[in-house]
């Protein structure tokens, strides 16, 4: 997240990949365990109490599919933004990044709407294990999206400051991009493992 010094330049002969890139991928590997723990906590409690809850009464697959689509498309734009940065095209970078931020905000909006709907319907953070695990997992993911939006906004502003050199900042944009894609793939898993699975064999349950 923060920019750090590579302390020197004269002993890079064993350099395999850039320091920041390797750091970012290590962080993502670590984050796999992080979200793995969150998602599996949810799945374990669903497995332990299969009958006690019926989330199909709550979930709106249309809305969730829409936000999944939005996040996938934002990932696409992010890939274009990184690509633009590598080509040194600042304008294209700004356009695509703005798109990512916009889509990220839509996703967050959907999540806020979804949460307020659920609370209305009686599912709160204190509602048994389901409320706890569901809100903590999706909420943590939402926080990650929000951090990503903040990070990209900072980069976007930085690109207007005139100090940004496309060649020099490519790695920073790429790191932000990796983070954004990771948030996207976590949602891909959550969409299937938390939402879709509930509806198997319960067709027609998604009526609202």
């Amino acid at each position: 997240m923060s920019e750090s010094a590579s302390s020197e330049h004269d002993s890079h002969h064993n350099l395999v990949v850039g320091n920041k890139k390797l750091l970012m991928w290590l962080f993502l590997g670590s984050d796999c365990m992080f979200f793995g723990t969150l998602i599996s906590t949810h799945l374990i409690y669903r497995k332990l109490y299969p009958e006690e809850y019926d989330p199909t009464q709550l979930f709106s697959l249309e809305l969730t599919s829409f936000s999944t689509f939005i996040l996938l498309m934002s990932s696409f734009l992010m890939a274009l933004a990184v690509s633009a940065m590598h080509k040194g095209e600042l304008k294209s970078f700004r356009r695509n990044t703005l798109g990512v931020i916009f889509f990220g905000l839509i996703f967050l909006g959907c999540q806020v709407f979804e949460f307020s709907e659920f609370v209305h319907l009686g599912l709160t953070l204190q509602s048994g294990t389901f409320g706890s695990t569901f809100y903590l997992m999706t909420g943590t993911h939402g926080c990650h999206v929000a951090i990503g939006v903040f990070w990209l906004t900072c980069l976007l502003f930085y690109s207007y400051s005139g100090k940004m050199d496309a060649h020099e900042s490519a790695i920073d944009v790429e790191a932000a991009g990796l983070y954004w894609h990771f948030v996207d793939i976590v949602w891909i898993l959550i969409f299937t493992a938390v939402y879709l699975i509930e509806f198997i064999g319960k067709t027609g349950g998604a009526a609202h």
Partner: protein
């Protein structure tokens, strides 16, 4: 970078060039080249200074944890003792475990990582010097938060403070639920704010460990000097790499588990609250998914130290280097697959129990391979019984004893008998003191002359070795019998007539012998600091690169980056054929690029203190603590933002030709 790097004169002048601090991109002066020693140490990004600070703080906490252990042993010396209350006893054993693991052994390992790894791989610093500084100060913040309860507890004892708010009436401000924090006792219905201090402190320490571990992984992969191939790296560096990867992949489990526990206590969620359907068993799983790799996080660096010391003092290359490295990696990897052996008695089911039993036994294989390789290294060597060697030999023997009782635990039926008895305590203290502690002392005797440039005086080390080895055996060997006689762990006293009295008294006497040994160690370290005898570059005739440079090393480590042609680089340089001697990289005329110091990592990690204390004190009903926590979060964010904006900077040094 060009705009922020000091433009030092390119001509080499006779007089030292006076460096002045530059302005960062924020327009503020960087804390480089200052006169104030305190500011210099607070803002340092030098891995050697950071390592020394880690070591000093860790040694302090080692003494604190030791003192807690002594009080515990004194309480248990005789049956039905009432020296301390049951609650105080619980707090002491909880803090003893937490302190020793997270505030003594892990940072002691980090001290060695920091000081040695860049030197051993021929680098000028770590990959991310400012993240390194952040890790150190975040560790300090976590240590303060976790120990803050003692102050409140003292105030409570004087009648000046008592809990209100969510934990009203629960005046346990020091954690008292064991270092593993098993649910449901960590629930808000059962324990007071002490648990919150523990959660917040551990969470902060986790962040410190994670950032440090990622930093070291990148450093070892990317910053090696030319020719320092992976299979030419010293084993200690290899073990640092494995340990770092273990931290990277194991800590998120406890981060999430602690987060869930925090939500249970702060926001009334039901992750581990039985009344809401929460399953305490899940906490045990999540804790040990982290907890078992943690065991190897503690012990692998010790194995690395031993693998450096034994060959040096046996005058022989490490026997079977690739196999030692590979075994370390296998131990690390298998460490993720055995967590449930801490939970045999919870009823996992036959298949699971058998599987975890087998996997646990499998870990004994690479460990045994390592021990045979160490013995093989000694075989036929010209052994010198210098102080580091004495402790290293002690390690091999004592660690093996801990390993033997560990093997006994891997058998589920035997474990069912030993679970929660003193047998387990005997086992892991043989590993922790006989293994890790002796290795760390060996490392201190080996590397302190390099760190401070002064040589040990006299032979107090022999007495340290005698007292600590005798002490640990007298303390912990009888505990095997106590366990088999059925004495349970974590009980503040016991009745007469179970046949436990004599053993307990012997244990307590042993604990004081061990404590005396540690006291002698502290005295010896102080004597070393006051010693006038210079250590010289290479006092032990050692094998690895850190002994090639001066003692203490210059801030830039190596005047010219070495080029490596073989394993055991320094031995080859001293005694090897011409084509295996170290080369030197040609200067590029720009001087040595040094990273700038920075306030912001310190500020960012200082924010953890109000954040952690605020959330915990809020639970104890102290007013306005929610705002205090938010203030801490803001401090963190501001620190990280300024850190990102200021730019790394840097300046150039021009060491004299002969340096």
């Amino acid at each position: 970078m060009s705009s922020t790097v000091t433009a030092t004169p390119t001509t080499q002048s006779e007089h030292p060039v006076v460096l002045s601090p530059e302005r960062s991109k924020l327009g503020l002066l960087r804390p480089d080249h200052g006169k104030s020693v305190i500011i210099d140490w607070l803002t340092t990004v030098d891995h050697k200074k950071i390592g020394i600070m880690y070591g000093a703080i860790a040694l302090f906490f080692l003494l604190v944890g030791g003192l807690e252990a002594l009080i515990i042993r004194t309480q248990l010396a005789v049956p039905e003792n009432d020296l301390i209350s049951a609650q105080r006893y619980n707090q002491l054993f909880t803090m003893h475990g937490t302190t020793m693991i997270f505030l003594a052994v892990m940072p002691l390992n980090a001290a060695f990582f920091n000081f040695l790894v860049p030197l051993q791989i021929g680098a000028r610093d770590v990959a991310f010097p400012r993240i390194n500084s952040f890790s150190l100060w975040a560790f300090v913040a976590g240590a303060l938060v976790i120990n803050f309860g003692w102050i409140l507890q003292a105030l409570e004892a004087m009648g000046l403070f008592s809990a209100s708010g969510p934990t009203e009436g629960m005046n346990d401000f020091v954690p008292a639920m064991g270092w593993f924090g098993y649910a449901p006792i960590t629930g808000i219905k059962f324990t007071g704010a002490g648990t919150d201090f523990w959660i917040m402190g551990l969470q902060i320490l986790g962040i410190a460990s994670l950032t440090a571990a990622m930093n070291f992984t990148v450093t070892i992969v990317n910053m090696r000097a030319p020719g320092m191939k992976m299979m030419r790296m010293p084993v200690f560096t290899w073990m640092t790499l494995v340990t770092s990867l273990l931290i990277v992949f194991a800590f998120p489990a406890i981060t999430v588990a602690l987060g869930e526990l925090m939500f249970d206590r702060l926001f009334g969620t039901n992750f581990f609250v039985t009344a809401g359907g929460g399953q305490p068993i899940l906490w045990q799983h999540l804790f040990w998914i982290f907890g078992h790799p943690e065991v190897y996080i503690l012990v692998l660096p010790a194995m690395g130290i031993i693998s450096e010391v034994l060959p040096t003092f046996a005058k022989k290359p490490l026997f079977g280097y690739p196999i030692v490295v590979f075994s370390g990696a296998v131990i690390g990897f298998l460490g993720f697959a055995v967590w449930s052996h801490h939970m045999f008695t919870t009823g996992l089911g036959k298949v699971a129990t058998a599987a975890f039993s087998l996997l646990t036994m499998a870990i004994a294989v690479p460990t045994g391979v390592k021990i045979f390789n160490w013995v093989g290294t000694l075989w036929g060597g010209r052994v010198r019984f210098s102080p580091p060697m004495i402790f290293a030999l002690g390690f091999v023997w004592m660690f093996m004893m801990g390993g033997f009782s560990g093997i006994m635990h891997s058998s589920a039926p035997a474990d069912a008998q030993q679970q929660d008895s003193y047998f387990v305590i005997a086992h892991f203290h043989y590993v922790a003191i006989g293994g890790i502690f002796l290795a760390v002392v060996s490392g201190i005797y080996f590397w302190l002359p390099k760190m401070i440039g002064k040589m040990w005086k006299g032979n107090l080390s022999t007495w340290v070795a005698i007292f600590s080895t005798v002490g640990l055996n007298v303390t912990f060997f009888p505990m095997h019998f106590l366990g088999l006689l059925g004495m349970p762990r974590r009980t503040h006293t016991y009745l007469e007539g179970f046949g436990w009295e004599t053993y307990n008294l012997v244990c307590t006497i042993g604990a004081y012998i061990l404590a005396f040994g540690i006291l002698l160690l502290v005295v010896d370290i102080i004597r070393c600091f006051r010693s006038g005898e210079p250590a010289g570059n290479d006092p032990w005739d050692a094998r690895t690169l850190e002994w090639k440079t001066t003692s203490p090393p210059q801030v830039y480590n190596f005047g010219k980056t070495p080029i490596i042609h073989a394993r055991d680089a320094l031995w080859e340089d001293k005694y090897g054929p011409e084509n295996r001697k170290c080369g030197e990289q040609a200067e590029d005329g720009h001087g040595i690029h040094m990273p700038s110091q920075s306030w912001w990592p310190l500020l960012a990690s200082a924010g953890f203190i109000p954040l952690g204390l605020g959330l915990s004190l809020m639970q104890a009903g102290v007013p306005f603590m929610g705002y205090f926590a938010i203030f801490g979060l803001c401090l963190c964010t501001v620190g990280i933002a300024l850190w990102a904006i200021e730019g790394p900077g840097g300046y150039h040094l021009h060491p004299k030709k002969d340096a």
